[in-house]
């Protein structure tokens, strides 16, 4: 199987994730979409590593996983706090930080 | 060390005043006054000991500051900067006396803030005239804005925030162009000398090619023209002067604006001689426009402070004209004009301040008949006004006439046109006097306007005495200005034209 197909798949997953971030209101879903974009990137890294026959891409994928894990911790904590104060997980309602 | 000490003294004084506990306002004022008086005496000592033959820098000090860029703490004075330092330091204690009660009732801690800001400003004023390193000059040039910004923004009239911001932005924009030119100058000097330098004497000795000069000149000129202020970069001045307290306005117009004209004579001419000659005709036209524009607008004002501010625009036109005609009479006249204008406009602002504190208004229409209720006060207003219209016998006449004679030697038409400015000066001063001081006083004026107090007299008497004394013995100042002016002429490589008649005796 051609490794380039994995790149296409990664692109599709990234687009879906980006779409999800932009259109969904529920913080959890947005969050999951972000995870999906991260993992799409991971997939691209791994595929690229395979194509170029180097390990750099795989190393980068590990970094992304670590960052994603840290992000999950902070992100979920924020979402939980917002839900507790507002009884809602809609991110549109948390729009006080504006002009 | 004298110059550095002259800068350190007010700064230390400011710190002491500011550190005083709340509730000791009177002590704060007294300390500030004593410190500024001491500085003034130091400056007068310096002025009296200036050489009357040497046009170079004296009292020179130099310490390394940022060696990587060749920046030094270099200070020194020639005759022109010496007289300006003397003028500035004499004005500071006088405006303190005049503004003694300016801010009493605003709030706690403001009194000492007000007075310590004056002292900080004094440090920078001495510094800006004494700096001989262009970078140091730039630092002082910009640093001066800070105390003035607070002085206007905190202690002024109802629109003070607007005025202070306008003043700051104008000055910063000007300063920005100057910074760009300054860096360009550093690079240019690096090309020619091997290492870049900001040292004035080294820069004045450069042989830059005219094209570079013309570009760099503009950056500096813009900054100085905003500061001076010249039409059309003047609109910050009336706003700032009208919103600040009269004491601040005095220092703002009397001293700060002089930095612009001082910069022209001190930096533009010697460092960019070719560019100065190239742009001189345009600048002289702008100056003549300033003379008439300022005077006509002064006639049209309804607000005393704005009137004085616009009269200054007109006076600065004379000063700039005298500088760029580059004759010895023009240059010496302009240098003396800067000093005289400091005193005469200072006196005008201060007396207008007296009127305002009494009547609670700065509008001409609210006055009238003051002469009847407070003849001495009216007399002082008249004297200050006469000095502003350059009555012969007062110092401003000597300088104005020198400028005109110097201009006449350069271009007869320009001088003849500019001479008609003296008619307009008579109109705006005397019409103002007529509307405020003569006639029958209204009831409000009768109730509120009291005769001048001893403290107020103490603030204006020295100014008027100086104005009259310098009118008859201007040589005191001219003796030390003349050699410095000769030096400037040498830098620019210009000579006075001899008289048209062969063998005329001088």
């Amino acid at each position: 199987m051609n490794a380039a197909n994995y790149l296409v798949l990664a692109g599709i997953l990234f687009t879906i994730g980006a779409f999800g971030v932009l259109v969904r209101r529920n913080a959890i879903i947005v969050f999951m979409s972000v995870e999906m974009m991260l993992n799409a990137a991971n997939l691209a890294f791994v595929a690229a590593a395979r194509i170029n026959a180097t390990l750099d891409g795989q190393v980068a994928a590990f970094f992304v996983m670590v960052v994603a894990a840290a992000e999950v911790v902070v992100g979920l904590a924020i979402i939980v706090t917002i839900f507790r104060t507002r009884k809602s997980a809609s991110i549109d309602e948390a729009s006080l930080l504006k002009y | 060390m004298l110059l550095t000490n002259l800068m350190a003294l007010p700064l230390i004084g400011a710190a002491v005043v500011f550190a005083l506990p709340i509730g000791r306002e009177l002590l704060a004022k007294q300390i500030a006054l004593v410190v500024s008086l001491a500085t003034a005496f130091g400056a007068i000592y310096l002025g009296l000991n200036m050489s009357t033959t040497d046009g170079g820098l004296q009292y020179v000090e130099s310490y390394q500051w940022i060696p990587a860029f060749g920046i030094n703490w270099s200070v020194g004075v020639d005759g022109i900067s010496a007289v300006l330092i003397v003028m500035a330091t004499i004005l500071v204690p006088l405006v303190m006396i005049a503004g003694w009660n300016d801010v009493e009732n605003i709030g706690q801690g403001t009194v000492k803030g007000y007075f310590s800001l004056f002292l900080v400003l004094e440090t920078f004023m001495v510094g800006v005239f004494a700096a001989t390193d262009l970078f140091l000059f730039y630092v002082f040039f910009e640093a001066m804005l800070i105390p003035v910004y607070f002085l206007i923004g905190r202690f002024g009239g109802p629109q003070r925030a607007y005025a202070a911001m306008k003043f700051l932005l104008y000055s910063l924009v000007g300063g920005l162009f100057m910074l760009a030119s300054l860096i360009g100058l550093y690079v240019a000097s690096g090309k020619e000398l091997g290492n870049g330098t900001f040292d004035f004497t080294a820069l004045a000795g450069l042989n830059m090619d005219p094209a570079t000069q013309k570009i760099l000149f503009l950056g500096f000129f813009f900054a100085f023209a905003v500061k001076a202020p010249m039409v059309p970069f003047h609109t910050w001045l009336p706003d700032a002067a009208a919103q600040a307290t009269p004491a601040t306005s005095t220092l703002l117009v009397g001293v700060l604006d002089k930095v612009g004209t001082f910069g022209m004579i001190r930096y533009l001419l010697p460092i960019f001689p070719d560019a100065s000659k190239y742009y001189a005709p345009v600048i002289i036209v702008l100056a003549v426009i300033s003379i008439f524009y300022g005077a006509l607008l002064a006639i049209g004002q309804t607000d005393l402070l704005r009137l004085v501010a616009f009269s200054s625009v007109s006076h600065f036109g004379f000063i700039v004209m005298g500088i760029f005609v580059m004759t010895s009479q023009g240059l010496s006249g302009s240098s003396l004009y800067m000093v005289n204008h400091g005193f005469s406009t200072g006196a005008l602002f201060i007396v207008v301040g007296f009127l305002m504190t009494r009547r609670g208004s700065k509008y001409i229409a609210d006055f009238g008949g003051v002469n009847k209720v407070a003849p001495v006060l009216a007399g002082v207003v008249l004297l200050a006004g006469l000095s502003s219209l350059a009555l012969p016998g007062m110092s401003s006449f000597v300088s104005e006439f020198l400028v005109l004679v110097g201009t006449f030697a350069y271009s007869k038409t320009t001088a003849v046109i500019a001479t008609f400015g003296i008619v307009l000066a008579a109109v705006y001063i005397l019409w103002m006097y007529q509307r405020t001081m003569t006639g029958e006083p209204s009831n409000e004026v009768k109730e509120t306007v009291k005769e001048i107090s001893a403290r107020e007299l103490a603030a204006v008497t020295p100014l008027i005495a100086l104005i009259i004394a310098l009118g008859f013995v201007p040589q005191v100042a001219l003796n030390i200005i003349n050699p410095a002016v000769e030096q400037v002429q040498q830098y620019v490589d210009v000579q006075d034209e001899p008289a048209a008649v062969e063998g005329a005796k001088a």
């Binding site: 002009y99 | 001495v376 012969p392 016998g393 004679v405 030697a409 003296i422 040589q475 003349n482 005796k505």
Partner: protein, 619 residues
């Protein structure tokens, strides 16, 4: 010694102004004393000069170097010669008399001390004007007297008319001062010197055109100070000042400074035919214009002011005739100083007795009530219209004579002027002292006190004998010759024909006035159904209207539109720029919605844009 002349009155002014109310009680005596001692110093200097020979009579006193920049070197030095001493004696002599008179005239004024301080200041400035040895120092005195005149015209500042008149005088004078400035600058640039001596020495070497320009600039200065056409309008308004001021400043001394200037600068005028012609023309116009205005004035002081203009016109005209006229210009100036001061003091005395009413239509038949005033005024009247052997006859006759020598047109102008002078002075005399009483109710005319009448009597002596003394005893022609030069006028018309003609014209003018105002009753209210000519004369020949239309109103428009332009134009651009930047940021601020997804979209868009650019660049 010379500096004491100026120093004494200056000290008086300083003490009175700085001393404040403490000096109220004795201030006027001090001022009189200072002025009188200055006069005695002048007399002693005069007698010293009499002991010397012609050329050596000039005395110098170098006080200090005033301004020295480059080659511009102006000393603060005084110069007393035959010309200056004549002025010194006139200024301090008449000045002292008027000081004395003012003690009585200003007795009830609460600001009498200030008045005397200003008078002293004036005397000092006027002396500086005539004693300076260079044009720039003369300028100091020149504007110094302008300042004193301003202060004294608007002495009663609470009256708006007085305040306006003072300002007007100063501003119009400033226009003249522009001329003086330009002249001094031209002198420096051309001759490298501004001293009288230096200019006179170098003048012959300069080119004709420059000399003419200097002459014209000096003429402009003279027009301002001496109220000559076209800068004459301030003098009539200047009558708002107290009458002694009008006598001293606006008749005897200050307004004649223009004549002094021209005579002093004779070195310039000798060389320029054009400048001299201009001077003569201005003099002729003013002498007729002033006399014409004088014919229609009901205000006694304004009538005299018109007459002053006219008489100075004679002097200016004479000065413009060159070496044949300089001496007579000064001669007429001196005699005029005496009789006109006397006339003004007489007018003041009348006003004093008539409750400060200046309208001659309310006078009449005063000769019985104010005998001293009547006699002294009458003697002054005979002097001014030029009846021999009174002072004015000698000086005016010489001028008319010299004018005919120059040109018949100019000569006729002076002759007509003499006739009109006789008309308006006779009109003034009859309306005031003859005819039936037309006083308003409650007015009780009375003679003034001795302190006022004695100066009038002294000046009347001057009116009677001044001309004779100066011409025959003082030999003024030869006295002034070393300074200004003197040439015998060419006599196209002989004296024996001219004097009878002049006298006939004078008598014709006087009798016409007598028939018009002496024989017929004078209406108390000025008739309104009058000819256009009379109307124009009442309106000062529309001088003010012209000034207003040409300078004031356009000036006001210009000022107003510039003020508008400054606020809306220049400041509009500045504030518009600020508002524009503010508006732009207010709009961009709106992109910060607070919605996380908007930020994400911007990020996405940005990333896509960068990717696209990279893609493009790689191609």
């Amino acid at each position: 010694m010379i500096s004491a002349l100026i120093g004494l009155p200056l000290a008086g002014a300083t003490i009175l102004l700085l001393g404040g109310r403490r000096t109220n009680a004795w201030g006027h005596y001090l001022a009189v004393l200072m002025s009188a001692s200055s006069f005695f110093v002048g007399v002693s200097l005069f007698s010293k000069m009499l002991g010397l020979e012609g050329e050596e009579r000039a005395l110098h006193q170098h006080l200090f170097d005033w301004i020295a920049v480059g080659t511009f070197n102006v000393p603060f030095a005084l110069h007393l010669d035959q010309l200056s001493i004549a002025f010194v004696l006139l200024i301090t002599g008449v000045g002292t008399l008027i000081h004395v008179y003012s003690i009585g005239y200003m007795e009830h004024d609460e600001n009498r001390r200030k008045f005397f301080a200003y008078l002293n200041l004036f005397v000092a400035a006027m002396l500086l004007l005539v004693l300076a040895n260079n044009y720039l120092l003369l300028y100091v005195g020149w504007e110094g007297v302008g300042l004193a005149s301003y202060l004294l015209i608007s002495f009663w500042q609470h009256k708006p008319s007085a305040a306006v008149a003072g300002k007007k005088a100063f501003v119009v004078n400033r226009v003249g001062d522009v001329g003086l400035s330009i002249a001094v600058m031209l002198m420096f640039v051309t001759f490298g010197s501004v001293t009288f001596e230096g200019v006179a020495e170098a003048a012959t070497k300069a080119d004709q055109q420059t000399v003419t320009w200097i002459g014209l600039a000096l003429l402009l200065a003279a027009c301002g100070k001496s109220a000559q056409f076209p800068l004459q309008s301030w003098l009539l308004d200047a009558m708002e000042g107290p009458t002694p001021v009008s006598a001293l400043i606006h008749a005897a001394t200050m307004v004649t400074a223009g004549v002094y200037l021209i005579v002093r600068a004779h070195a310039i005028f000798d060389l320029s035919e054009t400048a001299r012609t201009a001077v003569v023309v201005i003099g002729a116009i003013t002498l007729l214009l002033g006399a014409y205005i004088g014919t229609a004035k009901d205000d006694i002081k304004k009538g005299l002011a018109g007459s002053t203009m006219s008489q100075i016109g004679y002097m200016i005209l004479a000065a413009g005739l060159g070496p044949v006229g300089y001496v007579f210009a000064i001669f007429h100036l001196l005699t005029h100083g005496m009789f006109k001061a006397g006339l003004f003091l007489g007018a003041g005395s009348v006003m004093h007795g008539m409750h400060d009413d200046v309208n001659m239509r309310h006078y009449g038949a005063l000769r019985g009530f104010m005998k001293v005033t009547y006699v002294t005024f009458g003697l002054g009247f005979l002097a001014i219209i030029g009846i021999p052997p009174f002072a004015g006859f000698w000086s005016k006759d010489e001028i008319i004579h010299a004018a005919f020598g120059q040109s018949t047109v100019i000569g006729l102008a002076t002759l007509i002027g003499a006739g009109v002078t006789a008309f308006y002075m006779t009109r003034m005399m009859t309306m005031t002292f003859f005819g039936e009483a037309r006083w308003e109710d409650g007015v009780h005319p009375h003679e003034s006190s001795n302190v006022m009448t004695i100066p009038m009597i002294v000046l009347a002596f001057g009116s009677v004998f001044g001309g004779l003394l100066m011409l025959f005893v003082g030999d003024i022609e030869h006295w002034l010759e070393p300074v200004v030069g003197f040439a015998k006028p060419e006599h196209h018309v002989s004296n024996t024909t001219l004097i009878p003609i002049t006298l006939a014209v004078v008598l014709a003018g006087a009798s016409y006035a007598w028939f018009k105002y002496g024989r017929r009753p004078v209406p108390v209210v000025a008739p309104t159904e009058v000819s256009l000519l009379t109307r124009a004369a009442r309106a000062d020949a529309y001088g003010d209207a012209l000034n207003e239309a040409v300078f004031m109103r356009p000036g006001q428009h210009l000022t107003r539109s510039l003020t508008f332009f400054d606020a809306k134009g220049i400041d509009g651009v500045v504030n518009g720029l600020a508002a524009g930047i503010g508006g732009l940021s207010a709009r961009t601020r709106k992109t910060q919605t607070g919605y996380a997804r908007n930020y994400a979209a911007y990020m996405l868009g940005g990333a896509a844009l960068i990717a696209f650019i990279l893609y493009l660049v790689r191609l």
